[in-house]
Amino acid sequence: MTELAVDVVGVTKRYGDLVAVDHLSLQVAPGEVYGVLGPNGAGKTTLLRMLFGLIRPDSGTVRVFGRTWADAGVHLLDGVAGFVESPRFYPYLTGLQNLEGLALLDGSRSRGRVAEVLEVVDLADRRHDKVGGYSYGMRQRLGVAASLLREPRLLVLDEPANGLDPGGIRDMRALVKRLAASGLTVLLSSHHMDEVEEICDNVTIMRRGTVAFHGSISDLRAMAPDPGHVLRTGDDVEAVAIAIGRHPDVDVQPDPDGGLVATGQPVRLSAYVADLVRADIPLLELTPTQTPLEALFFMLTEAEVHEEHEPVGAAR
């Protein structure tokens, strides 16, 4: 049986009365790109902090490549790298000095890789600049470089695209995909559904410290509701009448912000829109409200407390 890269079993962490993580279990297989998704405050960062030993769980077990903090101590992190929240560095040192210092703590293997990892994250030409002058995106990339120094088998990234501009997000995702393609196990936390969908194989969606969904991205897609669209026409009353009369599979409701919201499978929705055009109803706007996965994410993470239920998705 292959040893799991990460095996979290029944972990709970409380801060006073607040239960940040509540009996959480998840497993990440070697070579997998795994997403932990949830809104802010769902417990993602707390989970990663426990993984790195920055905080200790009140109960449960965290195993990384079969090792626990109790039996391996800091050696649990051998072969593991990454960052929790945004990566932080010493602002009065240059990027190069920061990496050289961290390589010093890592040992001899890392020290020869400083120049190489700076190239990988496109920071070689800014290596002599003090980190205090780096942009947020550059610090994120330096964080990835600092992680790669350790030649990890498991890379843990906490919202790596957080705070980046669109270009930075694109570059960061491309970098993570490139690393994942090299066979590295990646555990990635995010609150962006599209990021996880684009990068990850499997996902755990967290809500208030618990698991709301657990399974593959394809399982998640299968559960996604029909997409909703904002529809603005020249005659909304007639548009609703056509939907009721000829397209019962498309749900058309007035939008509180004006216009209509049409929900249905893409094929049905296309037929409905074609009918509107044939009926000479001017079509002013047709835009998706949110992607199906986004809609599912909100359904799973914004459920009221009294609606809490067992996590959905495949058990692992």
Binding site: R49, L54, I55, Y90, Y92, L93, L102, G107
Partner: protein, 271 residues
């Protein structure tokens, strides 16, 4: 390279890269020269101060005058500027998680930081002492010194005793280093880590000056700063020096143990 050796090198590199570290050592080198020149230029010597009466006539008296003044708050401040910041700055920069996610234990980092802070404090003391002695002897002179019992002390013996007097402040200074480390770890705030030991030192001096607290005085961390007085009396007595060793060591051990326990138990969340 072992984990501790690597951590020591890393902490030393960081300290060397900071401007204030260089400024502190430069200050410790230059300030005594300025102080000696200012005191020497005064028309009347500070007679109410220990060795003040002879300070403008005798270089060794001048250096002991400066020592008495420095022990009040300069030495605690000198060491606290680095020791009070060395842990708190990791919180300030949010870098605890950066270093603790690299297979480096808290114990290793704690040991390295303590060692670097202590060595820096002692280095600053050596620079300050050497500069004070050199400036005093060069500017004021190196005549035989009149001791606390009125005895004459030859120039060579005076130099040895003055050096020993400065050396006697090393252990209480280490005590203040450890106190600053404790405040730095506990408060996670560099300002508290730097200011609190100095303020506490001034309070201890105030308490030590009060009457009727003879049983408490030996336990104050500021008392060992005065233990060198016995070296300049006739006959010489070293009891306060030995008491000072015990007091300083006690404060150092207690502060370091408390700081270590706090750091070990801490959840690294923000930093």
């Amino acid at each position: 390279m072992t984990g501790l050796a690597a951590a020591l090198r890393w902490e030393t590199r960081k300290l060397r890269a900071q401007l204030r570290t260089k400024a502190l050592l430069l200050g410790a080198l230059i300030a005594p020269v300025a102080v000696v020149l200012v005191v020497q230029s005064q028309p009347r010597p500070p007679k109410d101060t220990l060795f003040g009466r002879f300070a403008t006539e005798n270089g060794y008296a001048m250096t002991l005058l400066v020592l008495g003044f420095a022990a009040q708050w300069v030495l605690p401040l000198l060491t606290a500027i680095v020791a009070g910041d060395i842990f708190a700055s990791e919180d300030q920069h949010g870098t605890w998680k950066t270093v603790l996610t690299r297979s480096t234990s808290r114990t290793t980092l704690f040991t390295a930081k303590v060692a670097v802070a202590v060595v820096f404090g002692l280095l600053a003391l050596v620079v300050l002492a050497a500069s004070t002695i050199a400036a005093s002897v060069l500017v004021v002179g190196h005549e035989p010194l009149i001791g606390l019992s009125g005895q004459a002390i030859g120039a060579r013996a005076a130099l040895e005793l003055v050096s020993a007097s400065w050396a006697s402040t090393a252990l209480p200074m280490v005590g203040f280093t450890c106190l600053a480390i404790l405040f730095s770890v506990w408060s996670r705030n560099a300002a508290v880590g730097i200011a609190a030991p100095v303020v506490l030192g001034l309070v201890m001096q105030l308490v030590g000056a009060l009457g009727g607290i003879e049983t408490l005085r030996p336990f104050l961390l500021t008392t060992p700063f005065e233990s060198w007085h016995g070296l300049l009396a006739a006959p010489r007595f070293t009891g306060p020096l030995l008491d000072g060793v015990v007091t300083s060591t006690g404060w150092s051990v207690v502060c370091l143990l408390a700081a270590y326990v706090i750091l070990r138990r801490r959840d690294i969340t923000g930093g």
